[in-house]
Subunit: 93 residues, 2 copies
Amino acid sequence: MIAIQAYMTVRPEKREEFIKNVTEVIEASRKEEGNISYMLTTKVENENEFVMLEEWKDQAAIEAHNTSAHFQKFAGSAKEFLAAPLDVKHYQA
Amino acid sequence: MIAIQAYMTVRPEKREEFIKNVTEVIEASRKEEGNISYMLTTKVENENEFVMLEEWKDQAAIEAHNTSAHFQKFAGSAKEFLAAPLDVKHYQA
């Protein structure tokens, strides 16, 4: 199993729109065959800093996710919301 | 490097007190020699569900943390705040 933490700093004025937009990719990702969990969290110290906590069966599941229509759509719109580049960490369970 | 995700479901009436109480263990843990990062997040879908995201140099650093006065104090008080048992996940980077 592979865990991913995706760190996203969102522009304050885009926070609500970001949350609405990201709900779509969360729901679609949870339906993917290789997904174990997919959950959005926000830092208590700064509500504009988000961490997506993801668990995937294997690397093939991550690759299928990265090429999925819903993730591509989200990644394409991310620039509009993010105040800093996406920071993604991979871990082995 | 070892990453830990500690999942905590907090009783709604204890949320603010929990956040105040956990600030102490966050600040002390970040000062520990073996700590890389220690950050409290909350689920966007449920603000009473928290995830502490931690990164440690190695297992010895985690053991030193688990026996530290500040962690022992927090763990002792946790029962008062938590609505469900603590769920801790360990990952390798």
